[in-house]
Symmetry: C2
Amino acid sequence: MKDSKDSKELFKEFKIQSVSEFFRRNAAMLGYTGKIRSMTTLIHEAVTNALDACEEAGILPYVRVEIEELGSEHYKIIVEDNGPGIPENYIAHVFGKMLAGTKAHRNIQSRGQQGIGISGAVMFAQMTSGKATRVITSTGGDIIEAWVMIDVEKNEGKIVKKTKHENPTGWRGTRIELEVKDVRYIRSKQGPYWYLKLTAIANPHAHIELIEPDGRLIVFPRSSKEIPEPPVEMKPHPKGVITDDVFRMAKKTRRETVKRFLIGEFSRISDQRVEELVRYIAALRLIKKEDKNRRKQLLERLANGEIDIILRSYGKKGKQALRAARKLIEKEPAKLTWHETEEIVEAFKYMKFLAPPTHGLRPIGEINIERGLVSILKPEFVTALTRSPKVYRGGVPFQVEVGLAFGGNIENGFNLLRYANRVPLLFDAGSCVTTLATKSVDWKRYKVDDLESAPLIIMINVLSVHVPYTSTGKQSIASEEEIYEEIRLALMEVGRRLKRYLSGKHRKLYVVKRRKTLEKYVDEIAKALSVLVNEPEEEVRNYFVELITRKFEEVETEKVEEVVMTSPGVEEVNEESE
Amino acid sequence: MKDSKDSKELFKEFKIQSVSEFFRRNAAMLGYTGKIRSMTTLIHEAVTNALDACEEAGILPYVRVEIEELGSEHYKIIVEDNGPGIPENYIAHVFGKMLAGTKAHRNIQSRGQQGIGISGAVMFAQMTSGKATRVITSTGGDIIEAWVMIDVEKNEGKIVKKTKHENPTGWRGTRIELEVKDVRYIRSKQGPYWYLKLTAIANPHAHIELIEPDGRLIVFPRSSKEIPEPPVEMKPHPKGVITDDVFRMAKKTRRETVKRFLIGEFSRISDQRVEELVRYIAALRLIKKEDKNRRKQLLERLANGEIDIILRSYGKKGKQALRAARKLIEKEPAKLTWHETEEIVEAFKYMKFLAPPTHGLRPIGEINIERGLVSILKPEFVTALTRSPKVYRGGVPFQVEVGLAFGGNIENGFNLLRYANRVPLLFDAGSCVTTLATKSVDWKRYKVDDLESAPLIIMINVLSVHVPYTSTGKQSIASEEEIYEEIRLALMEVGRRLKRYLSGKHRKLYVVKRRKTLEKYVDEIAKALSVLVNEPEEEVRNYFVELITRKFEEVETEKVEEVVMTSPGVEEVNEESE
């Protein structure tokens, strides 16, 4: 191997890349793929940031999006909100540093998560137009105007120009202006117009405006003045953690014992549960020593809750095991070994816990979904259902909401509006659990004979701190069994409501038709009868008209309202607290 | 808005995440999704590193993979190579720091690119088993044994234990041992066995061994002793760059003028091309000032190569524009503005360049593909075709290779083996350009009546410095038109070869059948004729046998060989040099 290079020579080229550099090369990972989708991604990142900021601050959002065409495939995108504003010293970080943000490290339901989105947009603008992003923001004091660029090699934001302006009116909010190329504005179902329309439906408390490149102003007005409760951080549930999570948390905690650590930093773990944990750890240690068949048998019995019988059957050895296991929970958390952490997580699998708290989940709510659908779509019938929270994979809370709108201004042809934490999903519909569950429902049973051609719109919102996306594009939700079932149940219920409505409507239409038929014959019958009974034709006629009127009166009074809304009011959402 | 939070309070939570932390949360982005796929990803990362290292160093690879089952969904994965080894002071970086490596910043065809793969594997092991990865390596001197963990919060490798051993035999190479949980070994088409089998087919110069968890040893022996040429870095082609690339390169270069920069750092740019560039920039500047219709017309003419006529038509103004444009190429590169860079890149679009150099692409080669297919699949017919390199999107060189194996030990049922830069692609086959192109071919024309049930295997290898993957999983190649067409052309050619073979085979089978039919009647005819011609039956019979033998002799001598290989030798691959 005389010709082979040695490693010194090869490692001369060894270099470290910044995360910005990585995403510059892999912009598709962030949704920048194709001219239309890239445009939608930019709008999405800016609007998501605006809505999250308002929500966290408890402000009714007012979001204005303006798209100016500067040339061929060359645009300026302006997004302005009335959020809390960004403190001056955070501007460079928020817009110029990837993986920096307020959310990634907290167990919280929010639209954004990673702290990549908006800096990704700034980078995309810079990559395609060479221009800095203009940020105008105020937290109530001076208005800061800053031009931000990203130093890709260092993953750092650079403010290339900054001006302070007085703020006599005390304006708060943020406006960003991105200049981009290689994107295209189209009014298609994958473009900004549709994206904002869907956003408005799922956020009836937000006022959203769009000025299209041709100057057309589109307003999606606020249809609810309720500010959604800001999301709260949720402690992890014992069934939703892996060993690595617990191990890392234990290394960081300030609590003094494993017991205190478990009770304090997880949900649904009480003193009593920790006592039980000790018993399970002891039992599992004993069982692990048995031969294969016996072990299998005992583990099955343990899963059936026979912990007491099992421990008792070990007699004195059982008591020793309990004493040893108790030592584990009295340790200092930082001294927990990986193996001990594994024992804890394994025991969790056999134990029963209350379902995770869901007070951190923030559904749109039935009345708000109906408001959103009515105000944007103007249907003749609308209904919505917020299911109570459930858990998937044993410990991850999620919740499903479904809205259904029928007829009225809705054009023929079925449309499914998909959302995750209120964020519209526009791409990769095929593999999404929402699509699969919708297709699995037998719509004929609900008087929808041909789903594809019905004037029907269904919206599905899946809420979770951890939405299980199928891929990094975050455009499709994985088909977790529990989520699939929840969506089906919700769809079947709104389906039944639609059926009831359509049945009523059909009955009424039928009745109106019959009355019209009868009325058509009144004149002829009156003429014939007047000869037979020898009464004036006019009187006989009047008699008949009265008869018909009386017969149909009952039906008439059930007036078909312009929009039928089914929710009695805001549903009481499972307001658990620990 | 008394209740709304102000931004100071909100920004208290602002934190910066490390890239390792990001990928810990998004392990699916790296291919760690599902127990089977995660196992394959681990093997893939380790084997890819081994093969790339050997290739860069010019060593015939010997790769040994051993998978030990330690418990339920708990394995130790050992991968050992005879590569150049890793210098002691790089061990922590290579295995413990993401986005660090020798390849990401170079324009080079290699299996790995990002410097994430192997540290991702180390992280996955640590996340699931809590264990450090054991690395044993030597560059020829001492053998270093190091246990590496990742400090996820800092994205840094930590060596938790290190020992030096003497190396009397001068061993070079690297062995890593990953202990992982939550994975599963299955001998399916998405598991390690199949992955390594496909790797062996595309790397006939590599000796690959696999020891399965049940102890079974599988050897994919080397079938070629040619060491592939190490890949070389390729300069970017003017048609394959965006403004941002050129702008960033201009900021970094040490060359003194834009002209020198363009000639020195791009391929296919000569003094003459720069002169032409000046003319195009001048013409574009003039054209941009025209009204819309005239502009459109002139740009079309420019695209048709009428640059001289256009410039002349501007007379004196044309000459002024030329002088101004010439100043641009005489500037210092660092002083190029974004706008000027855009002008250069736009001019590139109208100019004609030689196709990009392709001396950096490393096809497997026809003879090697055939060797690989024969040694692993044992077919009765094999053929391979390496097309000459082409360009997609105007400036990205790529090359397509196709192999076809038929009959013999191949079971009924069509199989498509997909590769990108020799790396097997096991997932997301549906949307891959290789699948689409294969389906688009009318296989009936090549005597394959029912593709799905034929004993047929086709392999397709797409080579490029930038393989256009459809998603971040890197398991499916986007359907770029030029790539699609190249694959189709290659498939049709190997299809014709298969048809020729099958025709020959059918003819032979037909002849053999006819001879057998004739021979069946020899006795009867001999008996009848012997009466008629009054000769002994035996003689008449012999006469007939001789006649038949002579008639079929010609055919007999074309013996059907056990394996039919079609390549005459290693094809002369377009060995361009600049």
